[in-house]
Protein backbone atom coordinates (compact mmCIF):
# COMPACT_ATOMS: atom_id res chain seq x y z
CA UNK A 1 0.00 0.00 0.00
CA UNK A 2 2.92 2.36 0.70
CA UNK A 3 4.34 1.64 -2.74
CA UNK A 4 0.91 1.99 -4.36
CA UNK A 5 0.26 5.46 -2.93
CA UNK A 6 3.77 6.78 -3.47
CA UNK A 7 4.07 5.29 -6.95
CA UNK A 8 0.66 6.51 -8.04
CA UNK A 9 1.11 10.13 -6.93
CA UNK A 10 4.66 10.21 -8.24
CA UNK A 11 3.85 8.79 -11.70
CA UNK A 12 0.81 11.01 -12.04
CA UNK A 13 2.87 14.07 -11.06
CA UNK A 14 5.39 13.33 -13.82
CA UNK A 15 2.63 12.66 -16.38
CA UNK A 16 0.66 15.75 -15.38
CA UNK A 17 3.69 18.00 -15.78
CA UNK A 18 3.57 17.15 -19.50
CA UNK A 19 -0.08 18.16 -19.80
CA UNK A 20 -1.72 21.57 -19.78
CA UNK A 21 -3.33 21.99 -16.38
CA UNK A 22 -5.66 24.73 -17.55
CA UNK A 23 -7.76 22.22 -19.47
CA UNK A 24 -10.69 20.76 -17.54
CA UNK A 25 -9.97 17.04 -18.13
CA UNK A 26 -6.42 17.45 -16.78
CA UNK A 27 -7.75 18.91 -13.54
CA UNK A 28 -10.17 15.99 -13.40
CA UNK A 29 -7.36 13.44 -13.86
CA UNK A 30 -5.34 15.13 -11.11
CA UNK A 31 -8.32 15.12 -8.74
CA UNK A 32 -9.17 11.49 -9.50
CA UNK A 33 -5.56 10.38 -9.08
CA UNK A 34 -5.09 12.25 -5.83
CA UNK A 35 -8.40 10.87 -4.54
CA UNK A 36 -7.16 7.35 -5.35
CA UNK A 37 -3.92 8.11 -3.51
CA UNK A 38 -5.92 9.41 -0.56
CA UNK A 39 -8.05 6.24 -0.54
CA UNK A 40 -4.83 4.18 -0.61
CA UNK A 41 -3.59 6.08 2.43
CA UNK A 42 -6.89 5.47 4.24
CA UNK A 43 -6.56 1.72 3.59
CA UNK A 44 -2.96 1.86 4.80
CA UNK A 45 -4.11 3.77 7.87
CA UNK A 46 -6.74 1.12 8.61
CA UNK A 47 -4.06 -1.58 8.32
CA UNK A 48 -1.71 0.34 10.65
CA UNK A 49 -4.40 0.96 13.26
CA UNK A 50 -5.61 -2.66 13.31
CA UNK A 51 -2.38 -4.65 12.78
CA UNK A 52 0.39 -2.26 13.84
CA UNK A 53 3.11 -0.50 11.81
CA UNK A 54 3.85 -1.58 8.25
CA UNK A 55 7.56 -1.72 7.38
CA UNK A 56 9.24 -2.47 4.10
CA UNK A 57 12.72 -2.04 2.67
CA UNK A 58 12.99 -0.43 -0.73
CA UNK A 59 14.48 -2.50 -3.53
CA UNK A 60 14.34 -5.79 -1.62
CA UNK A 61 17.60 -5.09 0.25
CA UNK A 62 18.11 -6.65 3.67
CA UNK A 63 17.04 -4.35 6.56
CA UNK A 64 19.88 -2.08 7.65
CA UNK A 65 21.25 -1.82 4.12
CA UNK A 66 18.36 -0.51 2.06
CA UNK A 67 16.14 2.48 2.72
CA UNK A 68 13.27 1.62 5.06
CA UNK A 69 9.76 2.83 4.46
CA UNK A 70 7.71 2.65 7.61
CA UNK A 71 4.10 3.58 8.21
CA UNK A 72 3.22 3.93 11.89
CA UNK A 73 0.25 5.60 13.55
CA UNK A 74 1.93 9.04 13.67
CA UNK A 75 3.16 9.06 10.08
CA UNK A 76 -0.01 7.70 8.57
CA UNK A 77 -2.15 10.21 10.50
CA UNK A 78 -0.17 13.13 9.15
CA UNK A 79 -0.05 11.66 5.64
CA UNK A 80 -3.84 11.25 5.49
CA UNK A 81 -4.30 14.76 6.89
CA UNK A 82 -1.90 16.48 4.48
CA UNK A 83 -3.00 14.66 1.34
CA UNK A 84 -6.63 15.34 2.31
CA UNK A 85 -5.87 19.05 2.64
CA UNK A 86 -4.12 19.14 -0.75
CA UNK A 87 -7.03 17.22 -2.30
CA UNK A 88 -9.57 19.76 -1.04
CA UNK A 89 -7.43 22.74 -2.07
CA UNK A 90 -6.92 21.23 -5.52
CA UNK A 91 -10.65 20.58 -5.86
CA UNK A 92 -11.31 24.19 -4.84
CA UNK A 93 -8.90 25.47 -7.48
CA UNK A 94 -10.23 23.06 -10.13
CA UNK A 95 -13.83 24.25 -9.74
CA UNK A 96 -12.80 27.93 -9.76
CA UNK A 97 -10.68 27.38 -12.86
CA UNK A 98 -6.95 26.60 -12.83
CA UNK A 99 -4.90 29.42 -14.33
CA UNK A 100 -1.52 27.86 -14.86
CA UNK A 101 -0.49 24.77 -16.73
CA UNK A 102 1.75 23.47 -13.96
CA UNK A 103 -0.63 23.77 -11.00
CA UNK A 104 -2.05 20.19 -10.90
CA UNK A 105 1.39 18.66 -11.42
CA UNK A 106 2.93 20.77 -8.65
CA UNK A 107 0.11 19.92 -6.22
CA UNK A 108 0.67 16.25 -7.07
CA UNK A 109 4.44 16.53 -6.52
CA UNK A 110 3.75 18.14 -3.16
CA UNK A 111 1.39 15.29 -2.24
CA UNK A 112 4.00 12.72 -3.33
CA UNK A 113 6.74 14.44 -1.33
CA UNK A 114 4.59 14.75 1.78
CA UNK A 115 3.39 11.12 1.61
CA UNK A 116 6.99 10.01 1.25
CA UNK A 117 8.35 12.02 4.13
CA UNK A 118 5.61 10.95 6.53
CA UNK A 119 6.06 7.28 5.61
CA UNK A 120 9.82 6.95 5.58
CA UNK A 121 11.95 5.39 8.27
CA UNK A 122 15.21 6.85 7.04
CA UNK A 123 16.51 10.27 8.04
CA UNK A 124 18.18 11.12 4.73
CA UNK A 125 15.23 9.82 2.74
CA UNK A 126 13.14 12.17 4.85
CA UNK A 127 15.33 15.05 3.67
CA UNK A 128 14.94 14.05 0.01
CA UNK A 129 11.12 13.84 0.17
CA UNK A 130 11.11 17.03 2.21
CA UNK A 131 12.95 18.82 -0.59
CA UNK A 132 10.55 17.42 -3.21
CA UNK A 133 7.60 18.81 -1.29
CA UNK A 134 9.38 22.11 -0.63
CA UNK A 135 10.47 22.67 -4.25
CA UNK A 136 6.90 22.04 -5.39
CA UNK A 137 5.81 24.56 -2.76
CA UNK A 138 8.31 27.22 -3.94
CA UNK A 139 6.96 26.92 -7.46
CA UNK A 140 3.35 26.87 -6.21
CA UNK A 141 3.87 30.07 -4.20
CA UNK A 142 4.51 31.84 -7.50
CA UNK A 143 1.11 30.65 -8.78
CA UNK A 144 -0.72 33.61 -10.23
CA UNK A 145 2.61 34.99 -11.44
CA UNK A 146 1.95 38.61 -10.58
CA UNK A 147 4.62 40.73 -8.91
CA UNK A 148 3.13 40.03 -5.49
CA UNK A 149 3.24 36.25 -5.79
CA UNK A 150 6.75 36.32 -7.28
CA UNK A 151 8.05 38.35 -4.34
CA UNK A 152 6.35 35.95 -1.95
CA UNK A 153 7.88 32.98 -3.77
CA UNK A 154 11.38 34.45 -3.59
CA UNK A 155 11.17 35.20 0.13
CA UNK A 156 9.66 31.80 0.83
CA UNK A 157 12.29 29.97 -1.20
CA UNK A 158 15.32 31.75 0.26
CA UNK A 159 14.26 31.48 3.91
CA UNK A 160 13.15 27.88 3.66
CA UNK A 161 16.25 26.86 1.74
CA UNK A 162 18.29 28.11 4.65
CA UNK A 163 16.12 25.92 6.87
CA UNK A 164 16.65 22.93 4.59
CA UNK A 165 20.42 23.43 4.69
CA UNK A 166 20.31 23.48 8.49
CA UNK A 167 18.27 20.29 8.48
CA UNK A 168 20.72 18.63 6.09
CA UNK A 169 23.54 19.57 8.46
CA UNK A 170 21.48 18.06 11.29
CA UNK A 171 21.06 14.81 9.36
CA UNK A 172 24.79 14.70 8.62
CA UNK A 173 25.53 15.27 12.30
CA UNK A 174 23.09 12.51 13.34
CA UNK A 175 24.85 10.14 10.95
CA UNK A 176 28.21 11.14 12.34
CA UNK A 177 27.00 10.57 15.91
CA UNK A 178 25.24 7.25 15.40
CA UNK A 179 26.66 5.79 12.19
CA UNK A 180 23.21 5.02 10.82
CA UNK A 181 20.39 6.76 9.01
CA UNK A 182 17.59 4.43 10.07
CA UNK A 183 15.39 6.39 12.46
CA UNK A 184 14.80 3.54 14.85
CA UNK A 185 18.51 2.74 15.08
CA UNK A 186 19.34 6.43 15.57
CA UNK A 187 16.86 6.50 18.47
CA UNK A 188 18.60 3.49 20.03
CA UNK A 189 22.13 4.75 19.61
CA UNK A 190 21.82 8.46 20.24
CA UNK A 191 21.70 8.01 24.02
CA UNK A 192 25.28 6.76 23.88
CA UNK A 193 26.48 9.71 21.79
CA UNK A 194 28.39 12.66 23.17
CA UNK A 195 25.77 14.85 24.90
CA UNK A 196 27.05 18.24 23.69
CA UNK A 197 27.19 17.16 20.06
CA UNK A 198 23.72 15.61 20.33
CA UNK A 199 22.37 18.84 21.83
CA UNK A 200 23.86 20.96 19.02
CA UNK A 201 22.36 18.61 16.45
CA UNK A 202 18.99 18.84 18.17
CA UNK A 203 19.19 22.65 18.08
CA UNK A 204 19.97 22.68 14.33
CA UNK A 205 17.03 20.36 13.62
CA UNK A 206 14.74 22.35 15.92
CA UNK A 207 15.58 25.63 14.16
CA UNK A 208 15.03 24.01 10.76
CA UNK A 209 11.54 22.79 11.67
CA UNK A 210 10.63 26.01 13.49
CA UNK A 211 11.39 27.90 10.28
CA UNK A 212 8.90 25.68 8.43
CA UNK A 213 6.31 26.16 11.15
CA UNK A 214 6.84 29.91 11.35
CA UNK A 215 7.44 29.93 15.09
CA UNK A 216 8.04 33.27 16.81
CA UNK A 217 11.68 34.24 16.26
CA UNK A 218 11.66 32.49 12.86
CA UNK A 219 8.31 33.82 11.68
CA UNK A 220 9.44 36.92 9.77
CA UNK A 221 8.90 35.40 6.32
CA UNK A 222 5.42 34.08 7.02
CA UNK A 223 3.11 37.15 6.81
CA UNK A 224 4.65 38.33 3.53
CA UNK A 225 4.19 34.89 1.98
CA UNK A 226 0.71 34.03 3.29
CA UNK A 227 -0.73 37.40 2.32
CA UNK A 228 0.90 37.32 -1.11
CA UNK A 229 -0.25 33.93 -2.39
CA UNK A 230 -3.61 32.70 -3.69
CA UNK A 231 -6.13 31.32 -1.13
CA UNK A 232 -5.79 27.72 -2.32
CA UNK A 233 -1.99 27.90 -2.16
CA UNK A 234 -2.12 29.52 1.28
CA UNK A 235 -4.40 26.67 2.38
CA UNK A 236 -1.88 24.13 1.07
CA UNK A 237 1.07 25.89 2.69
CA UNK A 238 -0.47 26.29 6.12
CA UNK A 239 -2.70 23.20 6.07
CA UNK A 240 -0.37 20.64 4.53
CA UNK A 241 3.20 21.90 4.27
CA UNK A 242 3.38 23.30 7.79
CA UNK A 243 2.59 19.78 9.03
CA UNK A 244 6.20 18.95 8.15
CA UNK A 245 7.20 21.17 11.05
CA UNK A 246 4.87 19.61 13.64
CA UNK A 247 5.59 16.08 12.41
CA UNK A 248 9.32 16.73 12.27
CA UNK A 249 9.39 18.08 15.82
CA UNK A 250 7.41 15.07 17.06
CA UNK A 251 9.47 12.53 15.12
CA UNK A 252 12.94 13.98 15.52
CA UNK A 253 12.35 15.60 18.90
CA UNK A 254 10.02 13.13 20.58
CA UNK A 255 11.32 9.91 19.11
CA UNK A 256 14.94 10.37 18.04
CA UNK A 257 16.21 12.94 20.53
CA UNK A 258 13.94 12.59 23.60
CA UNK A 259 16.62 13.60 26.13
CA UNK A 260 17.47 16.75 24.21
CA UNK A 261 13.76 17.60 23.93
CA UNK A 262 13.38 17.27 27.67
CA UNK A 263 16.44 19.43 28.24
CA UNK A 264 15.03 22.11 25.95
CA UNK A 265 11.54 22.03 27.48
CA UNK A 266 11.98 25.47 29.08
CA UNK A 267 13.08 26.97 25.79
CA UNK A 268 10.03 25.38 24.12
CA UNK A 269 7.71 26.93 26.72
CA UNK A 270 9.28 30.37 26.33
CA UNK A 271 9.20 30.30 22.52
CA UNK A 272 5.68 28.83 22.48
CA UNK A 273 4.39 31.49 24.85
CA UNK A 274 5.97 34.39 22.92
CA UNK A 275 4.63 32.91 19.71
CA UNK A 276 1.08 32.71 21.06
CA UNK A 277 1.07 36.21 22.54
CA UNK A 278 2.92 37.88 19.67
CA UNK A 279 0.82 36.18 16.97
CA UNK A 280 -2.47 36.98 18.72
CA UNK A 281 -1.60 40.64 19.42
CA UNK A 282 -0.41 41.23 15.86
CA UNK A 283 -3.53 39.52 14.50
CA UNK A 284 -5.79 41.76 16.61
CA UNK A 285 -4.10 44.86 15.21
CA UNK A 286 -4.32 43.87 11.51
CA UNK A 287 -7.09 44.90 9.18
CA UNK A 288 -6.99 42.64 6.13
CA UNK A 289 -8.21 39.07 6.42
CA UNK A 290 -5.15 37.28 5.05
CA UNK A 291 -2.85 39.24 7.34
CA UNK A 292 -4.92 38.31 10.38
CA UNK A 293 -4.87 34.67 9.32
CA UNK A 294 -1.11 34.76 8.76
CA UNK A 295 -0.41 36.11 12.26
CA UNK A 296 -2.97 33.73 13.70
CA UNK A 297 -0.97 30.88 12.12
CA UNK A 298 2.11 32.07 14.05
CA UNK A 299 0.11 32.07 17.27
CA UNK A 300 -1.49 28.68 16.72
CA UNK A 301 1.80 26.80 16.25
CA UNK A 302 2.85 28.10 19.66
CA UNK A 303 0.27 25.77 21.23
CA UNK A 304 1.81 22.77 19.44
CA UNK A 305 5.20 23.74 20.80
CA UNK A 306 3.82 24.02 24.35
CA UNK A 307 2.25 20.57 24.04
CA UNK A 308 5.63 19.23 22.86
CA UNK A 309 7.35 20.86 25.81
CA UNK A 310 4.96 19.14 28.20
CA UNK A 311 5.87 15.86 26.51
CA UNK A 312 4.93 12.35 27.60
CA UNK A 313 1.85 10.53 26.31
CA UNK A 314 -0.52 13.40 27.24
CA UNK A 315 1.61 16.16 25.73
CA UNK A 316 2.39 14.36 22.46
CA UNK A 317 -1.25 13.31 22.04
CA UNK A 318 -2.28 16.94 22.59
CA UNK A 319 0.30 18.07 20.01
CA UNK A 320 -1.04 15.61 17.41
CA UNK A 321 -4.70 16.50 18.03
CA UNK A 322 -3.92 20.21 17.97
CA UNK A 323 -1.88 19.90 14.76
CA UNK A 324 -4.75 18.07 13.04
CA UNK A 325 -7.37 20.61 14.12
CA UNK A 326 -5.13 23.58 13.35
CA UNK A 327 -4.46 22.41 9.83
CA UNK A 328 -8.20 21.88 9.16
CA UNK A 329 -8.96 25.33 10.63
CA UNK A 330 -6.41 26.98 8.38
CA UNK A 331 -7.66 25.08 5.34
CA UNK A 332 -11.20 26.28 6.02
CA UNK A 333 -10.32 29.90 6.81
CA UNK A 334 -7.93 30.46 3.91
CA UNK A 335 -10.35 28.91 1.41
CA UNK A 336 -13.26 30.90 2.84
CA UNK A 337 -11.15 34.07 2.53
CA UNK A 338 -11.40 33.85 -1.25
CA UNK A 339 -15.19 33.46 -1.40
CA UNK A 340 -18.33 35.40 -0.50
CA UNK A 341 -21.92 34.39 0.33
CA UNK A 342 -23.96 33.35 3.35
CA UNK A 343 -22.85 29.72 3.21
CA UNK A 344 -19.20 30.83 3.24
CA UNK A 345 -19.97 33.27 6.02
CA UNK A 346 -21.40 30.47 8.14
CA UNK A 347 -18.42 28.25 7.34
CA UNK A 348 -16.02 31.04 8.26
CA UNK A 349 -17.88 31.49 11.55
CA UNK A 350 -17.36 27.79 12.30
CA UNK A 351 -13.67 28.18 11.51
CA UNK A 352 -13.46 31.26 13.73
CA UNK A 353 -15.17 29.39 16.58
CA UNK A 354 -12.71 26.58 16.03
CA UNK A 355 -9.66 28.87 16.20
CA UNK A 356 -11.04 30.50 19.34
CA UNK A 357 -11.86 27.09 20.87
CA UNK A 358 -15.62 27.54 21.38
CA UNK A 359 -17.53 24.29 22.01
CA UNK A 360 -19.48 23.20 18.94
CA UNK A 361 -16.37 23.29 16.73
CA UNK A 362 -13.40 20.94 16.88
CA UNK A 363 -11.08 23.69 18.11
CA UNK A 364 -12.64 23.29 21.55
CA UNK A 365 -11.26 19.77 21.59
CA UNK A 366 -7.79 21.09 20.77
CA UNK A 367 -7.93 23.53 23.66
CA UNK A 368 -9.35 20.84 25.94
CA UNK A 369 -6.50 18.39 25.36
CA UNK A 370 -4.06 21.25 25.96
CA UNK A 371 -5.79 22.05 29.24
CA UNK A 372 -5.56 18.40 30.23
CA UNK A 373 -1.87 18.33 29.33
CA UNK A 374 -1.13 21.48 31.35
CA UNK A 375 -3.07 20.08 34.31
CA UNK A 376 -1.03 16.91 34.02
CA UNK A 377 2.12 18.94 34.74
CA UNK A 378 0.16 21.06 37.26
CA UNK A 379 1.09 24.37 35.68
CA UNK A 380 -1.25 27.27 36.44
CA UNK A 381 0.72 29.57 34.14
CA UNK A 382 0.06 27.35 31.13
CA UNK A 383 -3.67 27.13 31.84
CA UNK A 384 -3.81 30.93 32.12
CA UNK A 385 -1.82 31.30 28.90
CA UNK A 386 -4.12 29.00 26.94
CA UNK A 387 -7.10 30.93 28.28
CA UNK A 388 -5.64 34.34 27.33
CA UNK A 389 -4.56 33.05 23.93
CA UNK A 390 -8.06 31.69 23.33
CA UNK A 391 -9.68 34.98 24.34
CA UNK A 392 -7.40 36.96 22.01
CA UNK A 393 -8.07 34.61 19.11
CA UNK A 394 -11.79 35.04 19.76
CA UNK A 395 -11.33 38.81 19.44
CA UNK A 396 -9.39 38.74 16.19
CA UNK A 397 -11.45 36.06 14.46
CA UNK A 398 -14.71 37.89 15.09
CA UNK A 399 -13.24 41.28 14.30
CA UNK A 400 -12.41 39.97 10.88
CA UNK A 401 -15.71 38.11 10.54
CA UNK A 402 -17.57 41.30 11.27
CA UNK A 403 -15.44 43.33 8.91
CA UNK A 404 -15.67 40.97 5.98
CA UNK A 405 -19.00 39.17 6.17
CA UNK A 406 -21.25 41.60 8.03
CA UNK A 407 -20.61 44.82 6.21
CA UNK A 408 -22.79 45.62 3.18
CA UNK A 409 -20.84 44.62 0.11
CA UNK A 410 -19.56 47.86 -1.39
CA UNK A 411 -18.20 46.28 -4.51
CA UNK A 412 -20.00 43.62 -6.47
CA UNK A 413 -17.94 40.51 -5.78
CA UNK A 414 -17.63 37.93 -8.47
CA UNK A 415 -20.16 35.22 -7.57
CA UNK A 416 -18.12 32.22 -6.48
CA UNK A 417 -18.90 28.81 -7.98
CA UNK A 418 -21.42 27.03 -5.82
CA UNK A 419 -19.28 23.87 -5.78
CA UNK A 420 -16.45 25.84 -4.20
CA UNK A 421 -18.84 27.16 -1.56
CA UNK A 422 -20.16 23.66 -0.92
CA UNK A 423 -16.58 22.41 -0.52
CA UNK A 424 -15.88 25.04 2.14
CA UNK A 425 -19.17 24.24 3.87
CA UNK A 426 -18.16 20.56 3.80
CA UNK A 427 -14.88 21.30 5.63
CA UNK A 428 -16.85 23.33 8.19
CA UNK A 429 -19.21 20.36 8.61
CA UNK A 430 -16.21 18.09 9.19
CA UNK A 431 -14.92 20.42 11.93
CA UNK A 432 -18.36 20.48 13.61
CA UNK A 433 -18.61 16.70 13.32
CA UNK A 434 -15.17 16.22 14.87
CA UNK A 435 -16.22 18.57 17.66
CA UNK A 436 -19.48 16.72 18.27
CA UNK A 437 -17.96 13.23 18.18
CA UNK A 438 -14.43 13.67 19.50
CA UNK A 439 -13.60 10.09 20.54
CA UNK A 440 -12.03 8.96 17.23
CA UNK A 441 -9.77 12.02 17.09
CA UNK A 442 -8.69 11.61 20.71
CA UNK A 443 -7.98 7.91 20.17
CA UNK A 444 -5.98 8.82 17.05
CA UNK A 445 -3.90 11.28 19.06
CA UNK A 446 -3.19 8.70 21.74
CA UNK A 447 -2.16 6.03 19.23
CA UNK A 448 0.12 8.49 17.44
CA UNK A 449 1.68 9.59 20.75
CA UNK A 450 2.24 5.94 21.67
CA UNK A 451 4.03 5.47 18.34
CA UNK A 452 6.36 8.36 19.18
CA UNK A 453 7.12 7.05 22.65
CA UNK A 454 7.74 3.46 21.58
CA UNK A 455 9.95 4.52 18.72
CA UNK A 456 7.44 3.07 16.29
CA UNK A 457 7.57 -0.44 17.76
CA UNK A 458 4.20 -2.26 17.74
Amino acid sequence: MIVFTLGLTWTLAVLLSLLDGRKHPVGGIALGGLAAGFAGLLVLGWEVFTNGPVTMVAGGWPPGVGITLRADALGVTFAVLSVGVILIALAYEAVSGIESRTFPALAMFMAAGLTGLFLTGDAFNFYVFFEIAMIAAYALTGYGERARQLRAAFIFAVVNLLGSVLFLIGVGALYHLTGTLDMRMIAERVAAAQPNAALLTAVAIFVAFSLKLGLFPFHYWLPAVYTGVRPSVAAMLSGALANIGSYGLLRFGGELLPQELEMGATALFVLGTTSIIYGALQAVSRRTMTEVLAYSAIGQVGYILIALGIGGPVGFAAAVVYAIINSLNKLLLFLAAGLRGWMVGAAFAVGAFSVAGVPPAAGFLGKLVLFQASLAVESVALVALIFIGGALSFVYSFQIYQRVFWKPQARAYKISPSTARLLVAGVAGLLLFAGAWPEPLLALGQRAAAAVLLGGAP
Binding site: E131, A147, L150, L162, G172, Y175, R403, K407
Partner: protein, 125 residues
Protein backbone atom coordinates in the same frame (compact mmCIF):
# COMPACT_ATOMS: atom_id res chain seq x y z
CA UNK B 1 42.37 16.96 7.64
CA UNK B 2 39.47 17.35 10.06
CA UNK B 3 40.62 20.85 10.99
CA UNK B 4 41.08 21.81 7.33
CA UNK B 5 37.59 20.64 6.36
CA UNK B 6 36.06 22.28 9.43
CA UNK B 7 37.73 25.58 8.53
CA UNK B 8 36.68 25.32 4.88
CA UNK B 9 33.06 24.66 5.87
CA UNK B 10 33.14 27.55 8.33
CA UNK B 11 34.54 29.99 5.75
CA UNK B 12 32.07 28.85 3.06
CA UNK B 13 29.14 29.13 5.43
CA UNK B 14 30.29 32.53 6.67
CA UNK B 15 30.76 33.96 3.17
CA UNK B 16 27.41 32.48 2.14
CA UNK B 17 25.60 34.04 5.10
CA UNK B 18 27.25 37.41 4.40
CA UNK B 19 26.06 37.31 0.79
CA UNK B 20 22.56 36.28 1.94
CA UNK B 21 22.28 39.57 3.81
CA UNK B 22 23.09 41.70 0.74
CA UNK B 23 20.53 43.79 -1.12
CA UNK B 24 21.27 42.38 -4.55
CA UNK B 25 19.14 39.36 -5.45
CA UNK B 26 21.91 37.65 -7.43
CA UNK B 27 24.18 37.84 -4.38
CA UNK B 28 21.44 36.31 -2.25
CA UNK B 29 21.25 33.38 -4.67
CA UNK B 30 25.03 32.96 -4.69
CA UNK B 31 24.88 33.04 -0.89
CA UNK B 32 22.35 30.20 -0.86
CA UNK B 33 24.51 28.18 -3.25
CA UNK B 34 27.59 28.67 -1.06
CA UNK B 35 25.72 27.75 2.10
CA UNK B 36 24.32 24.58 0.53
CA UNK B 37 27.82 23.65 -0.65
CA UNK B 38 29.04 24.12 2.90
CA UNK B 39 26.34 21.62 3.93
CA UNK B 40 27.54 19.19 1.23
CA UNK B 41 31.08 19.39 2.54
CA UNK B 42 29.74 18.88 6.04
CA UNK B 43 28.02 15.69 4.90
CA UNK B 44 31.29 14.41 3.41
CA UNK B 45 33.15 15.22 6.60
CA UNK B 46 30.49 13.44 8.68
CA UNK B 47 32.05 10.19 7.47
CA UNK B 48 35.69 11.05 6.89
CA UNK B 49 37.50 7.75 6.93
CA UNK B 50 40.65 6.50 5.22
CA UNK B 51 40.56 3.44 3.05
CA UNK B 52 40.18 2.03 -0.39
CA UNK B 53 37.35 2.89 -2.69
CA UNK B 54 34.39 0.72 -1.64
CA UNK B 55 33.94 -1.03 -4.98
CA UNK B 56 32.94 -4.68 -5.15
CA UNK B 57 34.75 -7.16 -4.94
CA UNK B 58 36.37 -5.98 -1.70
CA UNK B 59 39.77 -7.25 -0.63
CA UNK B 60 39.77 -9.16 2.63
CA UNK B 61 41.06 -7.29 5.68
CA UNK B 62 41.52 -3.95 3.94
CA UNK B 63 39.64 -0.95 5.28
CA UNK B 64 37.33 0.85 2.89
CA UNK B 65 36.14 4.43 3.11
CA UNK B 66 32.54 5.16 4.00
CA UNK B 67 30.46 5.03 0.80
CA UNK B 68 27.22 6.22 2.39
CA UNK B 69 28.26 9.84 2.91
CA UNK B 70 29.36 10.04 -0.70
CA UNK B 71 26.00 8.74 -1.88
CA UNK B 72 24.26 11.26 0.38
CA UNK B 73 26.43 14.13 -0.81
CA UNK B 74 25.80 13.21 -4.43
CA UNK B 75 22.05 13.35 -3.80
CA UNK B 76 22.40 16.64 -1.93
CA UNK B 77 24.47 18.13 -4.78
CA UNK B 78 21.77 17.20 -7.30
CA UNK B 79 19.10 18.77 -5.11
CA UNK B 80 21.17 21.93 -4.60
CA UNK B 81 21.71 22.11 -8.36
CA UNK B 82 17.97 21.93 -9.04
CA UNK B 83 17.29 24.53 -6.39
CA UNK B 84 19.84 26.99 -7.77
CA UNK B 85 18.20 26.68 -11.19
CA UNK B 86 14.77 27.30 -9.67
CA UNK B 87 16.02 30.29 -7.66
CA UNK B 88 17.71 31.78 -10.74
CA UNK B 89 14.51 31.51 -12.74
CA UNK B 90 12.59 33.11 -9.85
CA UNK B 91 15.08 35.99 -9.76
CA UNK B 92 14.61 36.41 -13.50
CA UNK B 93 10.81 36.56 -13.10
CA UNK B 94 11.13 39.06 -10.25
CA UNK B 95 13.43 41.13 -12.48
CA UNK B 96 11.04 41.12 -15.43
CA UNK B 97 8.14 42.23 -13.23
CA UNK B 98 10.01 44.88 -11.21
CA UNK B 99 12.81 45.83 -13.64
CA UNK B 100 15.25 45.84 -10.75
CA UNK B 101 17.39 43.41 -8.81
CA UNK B 102 17.72 45.61 -5.76
CA UNK B 103 15.78 44.51 -2.70
CA UNK B 104 15.11 48.14 -1.73
CA UNK B 105 13.25 48.87 -4.98
CA UNK B 106 11.31 45.64 -4.58
CA UNK B 107 10.28 46.36 -1.00
CA UNK B 108 9.23 49.86 -2.07
CA UNK B 109 6.93 48.25 -4.63
CA UNK B 110 5.61 46.07 -1.81
CA UNK B 111 4.86 49.08 0.41
CA UNK B 112 3.13 50.93 -2.45
CA UNK B 113 0.94 47.93 -3.15
CA UNK B 114 0.04 47.50 0.52
CA UNK B 115 -0.89 51.16 0.84
CA UNK B 116 -3.19 50.92 -2.15
CA UNK B 117 -4.89 47.87 -0.62
CA UNK B 118 -5.26 49.64 2.75
CA UNK B 119 -6.76 52.79 1.21
CA UNK B 120 -9.20 50.67 -0.77
CA UNK B 121 -10.28 48.85 2.40
CA UNK B 122 -10.71 52.11 4.32
CA UNK B 123 -12.70 53.62 1.47
CA UNK B 124 -15.00 50.62 1.62
CA UNK B 125 -15.58 50.95 5.34
Amino acid sequence: MILVSALTIAVLFGVGSYLLLQRDLIRVVVGIILVSNAANLFLISAGLSRGQAPIYPLEEGVEVSDPLVQAMTLTAIVIAFGISALLMSLVYRVYTSHLSLNLEDISEAEVREEESIESREVAED
